[in-house]
Subunit: 417 residues, 2 copies
């Protein structure tokens, strides 16, 4: 694609790094940052980050509306978090055992998240989800787990969205249901003939490549009742949405408590940590499994997490993200209306998701995002975006200039519908 | 146990933290740092670390011969590594994508490790081993993996040493062989009826709770030939031993190249990163799988890894660790001989492993280590120890005072055999 008029001055360094990467990294990149999945014009390599901004290796500046796919919630290099990190780093990080902040963080999470009586820590969101399932299996003595078809719960073999390298046995203990469809869950329970250790669910449906879908409180309550009836654990996968929807568990506003919840991403503003939270009932199961990692007891990410959770509360970060997310959503809606382009914006405003009507192969989305990147805003054509608390109204207005350019490019190429 | 005369002045803070931990962390702790598994007198929580020393939360100082179970190889807070970390941290860590240092690190590893044509990065050693198996399965279209019975390849459900929370399906694609016993491997191949995607093996046998066992080069060559004959990937799990045995692949001195290798722990001197290295033949398989993590592209651990690998070479860290490890082993042998206590020291001297003859339930080991901790040296009763390059001859002599006290305590309690 060469059809985007770019403000970017240069991609010389990025191009050279890509050339070198292709020689020593399979496919030149892997995972969710795979450049092959992104529109032309996206940088692959970055130089620095500050607040809601990032700079690529060629010095081009962007407003970051992906927030590293979620981890950055207060903005890059939040002063309180960086201060806590520096203080802990001066003492120690990966030591002979954890620092006192491990206990403080566990206490803080138990205090902050209503369903939680205890906490364990890991590194990846995948770790946290997998550990939840292991705990549920240990506690119930059962094997099967029910998951919503198409939901992303990490890239472990039981859950990765692509089947290359996955064996049939990796999925043998997973049955699938439809999000917000309790009858489909009940069918899956029957399918499992009573062998249900856990039902795992995201706070709302945020499958990449689709419109987002809010949780139906009736569905959430029915899941809770079903788990109670059959003696299975209700596992809430908070990895992507945790602390962006609510400064506490995401389902607290609807009054439904999971037994176990998996957290990562935003809980330490970009520092690497994951957490499993659980109710007293599952503490024994949790203490019966052997899970661990060389870096799971690092003190720095734990200190960062304490500072992050504290700042989230002090700054009313959720309120701020909602306000900026609302401004962004309203602005885009107005632009689309004026231009006569049919778009759908779904899900929580602080986790924006935009799709175009009749957008085969994401061609409109890709052009829209390619234009935005050229205008200095990082969005994603297939995945929800992330608002951080560092975004100001002025930043949102700057983003809106880019989305306006993106929408105009779409109309120019595809017409007004 | 109250039978150890302790130099430790106090454990007040540690005791209080343990009390709080039991309320908010299942079992008060989990994984390999579970305090329940350690002798009386061990601190659970640490305050700071520097060089080969750590201080617990009560201010007691120790020589650290566990090195966080391997990650710390140059000593805590090595100046070159800390400088690289500070420089990268000032720019950015978890950004919108990786920094240039991702490519530089991949190039450095490909240059440093003979079998490697490419690199991928993750967070846990478990990640790296699991990704190796996924790549082997993707490349071969087969499912079964052969692993040495009792070998530790991480705490994912397919490999964790305890079965609580593990389903039969999690192990359905794993067959087991005996380390250094090629006939047992051939039997496992027959068992799998030709469906062998990979054979995974550690550079030497370092199963916790046992004497260590060197690799028989004849066995390694036979594994290589067998994998070539049946078209399976030879996967070397370098997570624990990588860069401590050799500044390159651990099997390079015996001239056997794996197809894939899994790395973590020591490659960034305590910063959280794991790596998968592979040969050209497996690059396509590697690029066909979807594996990723929110923190897998962090720049700081990659910068730390580059600085670590560079310093390892410049300082001849392996040579230094071998020299200190040899001094320690000889010293303990002399002490044991003088005291008439039968001990076995096995495996590479820089990864010391000490067992006592007739030591039921590790009672002698536990007393030995409890005495050492009271004398200010962190050892482990069931797991190999780790020498770092920060250890000086004087430090080793200090350790030897503690081991002498430990051996004397064992003789006093158990007699001289």
């Amino acid at each position: 694609m060469t059809d985007v008029t770019s403000k970017r001055r240069t991609a010389v360094v990025d191009t050279e790094l890509r050339r070198r990467a292709r020689r020593v990294i399979p496919g030149g990149m892997y995972g969710h940052l795979s450049a092959n999945m992104l529109p032309d014009g996206y940088p692959q390599f970055y130089d620095r980050a500050e607040g809601c901004r990032v700079w690529d290796v060629d010095g081009n500046e962007y407003i970051d509306l992906m927030c590293s796919f979620g981890p950055v919630i207060l903005g890059h290099k939040h002063p309180d978090v960086e201060r806590a990190v520096a203080a802990q780093q001066a003492k120690g990080d990966t030591m002979a055992g954890p620092a006192a902040c491990m206990v403080e963080l566990a206490e803080l999470l138990v205090d902050r998240v209503a369903h939680a009586d205890w906490a364990m820590f890991a590194k990846n969101g995948s770790d946290a989800n997998t550990v939840c399932l292991m705990i549920a299996r240990a506690a119930t003595g059962r094997n099967t787990v029910l998951a919503a078809r198409g939901a992303y719960h990490g890239s472990a073999p039981w859950s990765t969205p692509m089947l290359s390298g996955v064996t049939p046995a990796d999925r043998a203990s997973v049955e699938y249901y439809r999000f917000n469809d309790i009858e489909s869950v009940e069918r899956a329970v029957e399918q499992a003939s009573g062998d249900v250790a856990a039902i795992i669910v995201s706070p709302y449906r945020h499958d990449a490549g689709f419109d987002q879908e809010s949780i139906d409180p009736v569905f959430a309550r029915a899941l809770r009742a079903l788990c109670d009836r059959i003696g299975a654990a209700l596992v809430l996968d908070e990895v992507r949405a945790g602390f962006r929807l609510n400064h506490g568990g995401s389902w607290e506003p609807i009054g439904v408590k999971p037994d176990l919840s998996a957290w990562s991403k935003a809980i330490a503003n970009g520092y690497p940590i994951a957490a499993v939270l659980g109710s007293e009932k599952y503490a024994e199961g949790a203490s019966s499994i052997f899970v661990t990692g060389s870096f799971w007891f690092e003190a720095v990410p734990m200190a960062a997490s304490i500072a992050t959770i504290t700042a989230l509360g002090e700054e009313d970060a959720v309120g701020s993200m909602v306000q900026r997310g609302r401004r962004l959503r309203d602005g885009i809606d107005t632009q689309a209306l004026e231009l006569g382009i049919r778009v759908r914006q779904t899900g929580p405003v602080q986790m924006p998701n935009l799709t175009f009507a009749g957008d085969e192969n994401f061609a409109r989305s890709r052009l829209f995002c390619a234009t935005a990147i050229a205008e200095g805003v990082i969005l994603h054509p297939r995945h929800n975006w992330f608002v951080s608390a560092a975004l100001t109204d002025a930043d949102v207005d700057e983003v809106l200039e880019a989305t306006d350019a993106g929408l105009r490019a779409v109309r120019e190429r595809f017409g007004d519908s």
